[in-house]
């Protein structure tokens, strides 16, 4: 099966998200789609899977012009998409989720789950997916949930699979497994489109690469002949430095001091187990670790969102263990939440409203009981420019922004406030290389101005590039600590510690 996009144009108001794009997708091939945040990748793929109807251009399937009136038509034609944000029912089992909408039925419309289960097993075996058909979604790790999404698409017998930033939420281990699955699918003759911002991934897995910039295809190439710097330049339009320049800074006094902190999860399991750590002013402390080893609970406790079961948290000499979220903000703690969709932004609110989501009450933006919206709008416009958030105006609902631009907005908000401690959870998730470079520079700038930064990231490279000290968390404990001032840190030794070898 071959799918051809011809002259696809898609506009949103004044914005031309896709500008007469030509693209061919062939069976047995992985097409890597690369492009800056807001370049139009997701839009193009939404056109392909029938969610948007293009303003111009046509889709040819095996040479036949085809019009999709909705996603159902696209599925019918064999095109399925795994969206960046999963669409699974958390309290349903894997099989229930997979069959949802196309339930196999027996006599008298009786739901034949057994049949569904059988098919899930068959798909499992055919593509090496290893998913328990009876597992409950909410208990499954992200990587497995993603495979459920893939099974969903395959269950609807798709021949073309579109994967929008599938690896953004995966651990390196999960990425390996994911690539194996892609290999299986390719060998089985499926056509795949793979979107990512990680250049090494796209070079590793794709057969062909297309680069989008500002709605247009600006380059195509063979991964064998391309390199990371070349790709980055095609994407952003200028050379990108991958190494951040970091001047040595003498750390100042201790800003954040955590002693014997124990934190429980909602189900009373221990998430953080007697952790002690500190962050000094002018220092970036990185916390490495496979997701789910207590980092999230740690951040939530440091920012006042979760109660400490035991231990103390001190900020700038004050005991803040029981201090409210709001008070911590005003004391000078900024927080970039890991999950921007759920916790960092309100989709229906405008860019400006989101920009002041947690400081609308400050004297900068309000007087008495009233918010000064004109001040907010002006200051938002400036921040949007500084951080290169691509939006038509500050009044645009945030849900209309591309994934990466939403992330940039959150980072812009937190880095624009007067903070002395920045707690950054996955600050560059979903960002293009150019934006990552910029955010890294800003974090380093904050550090040079005497800020303390606590960086939690599943990107080991990011932590190695930025952190002055690296702590490794495993099963709720800090199991290893490295000081980059004492010489280069060995990546594989961190990797081992992350896997629990240091215990």
């Amino acid at each position: 099966m071959q799918v051809e996009l011809r002259g696809i144009t898609k506009r949103f108001g004044e914005i031309v998200a896709n500008d007469s794009i030509d693209l061919t997708i062939r069976e047995g091939e992985v097409l890597g789609l690369l492009g800056e945040n807001g370049a139009g990748k997701s839009t193009l793929m939404n056109v392909l899977c029938g969610l948007y109807s293009p303003d111009a251009g046509e889709i040819l399937i095996n040479g036949e012009p085809t019009v999709f009136r909705g996603p159902a038509d696209a599925i019918q034609a064999g095109i399925g998409m795994v969206h960046q944000h999963f669409m699974l029912v958390p309290v349903f089992s894997v099989t229930e989720n997979v069959v949802l909408g196309v339930e196999p039925t027996g006599l008298l419309d009786h739901l034949d789950l057994e049949k569904g289960r059988r098919e899930v097993r068959e798909i499992n075996e055919a593509y090496g997916l290893h998913v328990d058909p009876d597992g409950l979604i909410e208990t499954l790790p992200v990587g497995v949930q993603q495979r459920v999404e893939i099974i969903k698409v395959l269950f609807r017998s798709a021949d073309v699979l579109i994967l929008d930033e599938p690896t953004a939420v995966l651990t390196p281990q999960e990425v390996e497994e994911f690539f194996q699955i892609i290999d299986y699918l390719r060998d089985a003759g499926k056509a795949l489109v793979f979107i990512t911002h990680k250049l090494n991934e796209i070079l590793e897995i794709s057969d062909r690469i297309s680069v989008l910039r500002r709605g247009k295809i600006v380059g195509e190439g063979d991964p064998a002949e391309l390199t990371r710097p070349k790709l980055a330049e095609m994407m952003v339009g200028r050379p990108v430095t991958f190494d951040v320049a970091k001047a040595p800074v003498d750390p100042g006094p201790v800003l954040l001091d955590v002693q014997d902190l124990t934190v429980l999860r909602d189900n009373d399991e221990i998430a953080v187990d007697q952790v002690s750590l500190n962050v000094r002013s002018g220092e970036i402390v990185g916390i490495a670790g496979v997701q789910g080893n207590g980092q999230s609970a740690l951040i939530e406790t440091l920012t006042g969102l979760r109660r400490a079961a035991h231990g103390t948290v001190r900020f700038d000499g004050h005991d803040i263990t029981r201090v409210s979220v709001r008070k911590r903000h005003t004391m000078g703690i900024a927080h970039i939440p890991e999950d921007r969709q759920r916790a960092g932004l309100i989709g229906k609110f405008s860019v400006a409203e989101n920009m002041v989501l947690n400081n609308y009450y400050s004297s900068r933006f309000s007087s008495g009981p009233q918010v000064n919206w004109s001040t907010v709008h002006k200051s938002t416009a400036r921040a949007v420019q500084d951080f290169d958030v691509r939006t038509p105006s500050v009044f645009e609902p945030v849900a209309h922004l591309s994934g990466g631009n939403q992330q940039k907005l959150v980072v812009a908000r937190e880095l624009s406030r007067e903070a002395r401690l920045i707690i950054a959870g996955q600050p560059t998730r979903g960002l293009d290389v150019g934006s990552i470079e910029y955010i890294h520079e800003r974090l380093i700038e904050s550090r040079e101005q005497g800020c303390g930064v606590l960086l939690i990231s599943s990107e080991l490279d990011e932590i190695m590039a930025l952190a002055d000290r690296i702590l490794v968390m495993f099963k709720g404990h800090v199991v290893a600590e490295y000081d980059t001032a004492e010489g280069p840190v060995n990546k594989s030794s961190i990797g081992l510690a992350m896997a629990g070898a240091a215990l």
Partner: protein
């Protein structure tokens, strides 16, 4: 980027986009079509129940005449609309904060009762003092009564739908009980009915100079003021920002340091104050005293008004006027064409059904809308 370019694009960012077409469709086009479909279905129902076409036409003419056809009709429409808008504004504010408050009915009763009691207890005060005091008492009583549900939700997580329904039931009986108290009951009456409020506590009629039967009263100014105030609260004030943030995404609001407990209680109290005002508006402007069940279902119709108005203060005002018109016109319809007032109830309900199902309206009138280009999430 040079200096001028920089400021140019800054201005560009500060310019609202003209792309608000889909919002317009949602707020204006859908309701208009919904009303049309509901009227057509109403006619079909009449047809099905053997009403001759001529009388159907006659009844819709009466509907129009009775609502806007004369000065008296407009006066009746405004009188009926006032409490609907007041209570509807409160409910809309609650919806924005993510609270589904069913309790306007009870809050109206408590507010009305308090206004009456204050009215006849301080009858010696001048109108300049007594009327505001009575209104204030109404607002306060409504606010307190609604806060009970708010506090229960904040402290124990008890859902406000359940608690406000229960509080409604309590309020009916509480009213009956209070109306028989010797200090409240009208002298010489055995049935539950309160003393009348003195003229000083009444909302003055506006057009009695033209015709003493024109009932429209100063409550309409209260309504306009309330629309402005609620607009300000929701879209200009800090607390309103908190309401809306909590309503749209509770988790993000929590991360932003907004305390849900405070928001819930404050939003319920504000909603209750508006419903209480609606009650005061009825007893001080229309009835002159409290009787059992004087709320007459306004608290429930107000839910429809808030939904129809898309929880926007201006929308609520327009929806309230529409419902007021339907009520005033419905009475005329009954008189002129002998069609049951229940039909008006059916038409109102149908309007709500179609408003609540914009996709259905879009499907019936595809030419009225642009093609949809939604984005997931």
């Amino acid at each position: 980027m040079n200096e001028t370019q920089q400021t140019m694009s800054l201005n560009h960012l500060l310019k609202a986009q003209r792309g608000g077409r889909s919002r317009f469709e949602d707020l204006v086009v859908v309701p208009i079509f919904a009303v049309i479909v509901a009227l057509i279905l109403g006619a079909l129902i009449m047809l099905a129940t053997n009403v001759e076409p001529a009388r159907i036409a006659q009844s819709y003419v009466a509907l129009l005449e009775g609502s806007v056809g004369s000065l008296n009709a407009v006066s009746e429409t405004l009188t009926a609309a006032a409490p609907l808008v007041l209570a509807g504004l409160g409910l809309a504010l609650g919806f924005r904060a993510g609270l589904f408050n069913i309790g306007a009915e009870g809050q109206i009763l408590m507010g009305g009762m308090a206004a009456v009691v204050v009215g006849f207890s301080f009858s010696s005060l001048s109108p300049m003092a007594l009327l505001p005091l009575s209104l204030l008492a109404g607002a306060l009583a409504g606010a307190l009564y609604a806060s009970i549900a708010g506090a229960l939700r904040a402290a124990t997580g008890a859902h406000e739908v359940i608690t406000t329904i229960m509080l409604n039931l309590i309020s009916y009986r509480l009213l009956d009980y209070m109306l028989r108290l010797p200090s409240v009951q009208k002298e010489g009456r055995a049935d539950p009915i309160s003393k009348s409020v003195p003229e000083a506590a009444e909302l003055p009629r506006l057009l009695s100079a033209i015709d003493p039967n024109l009932r429209v009263h100063a409550g309409v100014f209260l309504v306009l003021l309330a629309v402005v105030v609620v607009y300000w609260i929701l879209f200009r004030s800090k607390i309103g920002f908190e309401f809306r943030a909590s309503g749209e995404n509770a988790e993000a609001a929590r991360f932003a340091g907004i305390r849900s407990g405070i928001v819930i209680v404050a939003a319920m109290a504000t909603a209750g104050a508006l419903a209480g005002l609606a009650g005061a508006n009825q007893v001080l402007g229309v009835l002159g005293r409290a009787t059992p069940g004087f709320s007459a279902g306004i608290g429930f119709d107000a839910i429809a008004v808030a939904l129809l108005g898309r929880s926007h203060p201006v929308g609520v005002l327009l929806a309230g006027l529409l419902f007021g018109a339907l009520e005033a016109g419905g009475r005329q319809m009954q008189v002129d064409a002998g069609v049951s007032i229940d039909l008006i109830g059916i038409i109102q309900a149908l309007i709500i059904v179609f408003i609540a199902a914009p996709l259905l309206v879009r499907a019936i009138f595809p030419w009225g809308f642009r093609k949809t280009t939604g984005r997931e999430g």
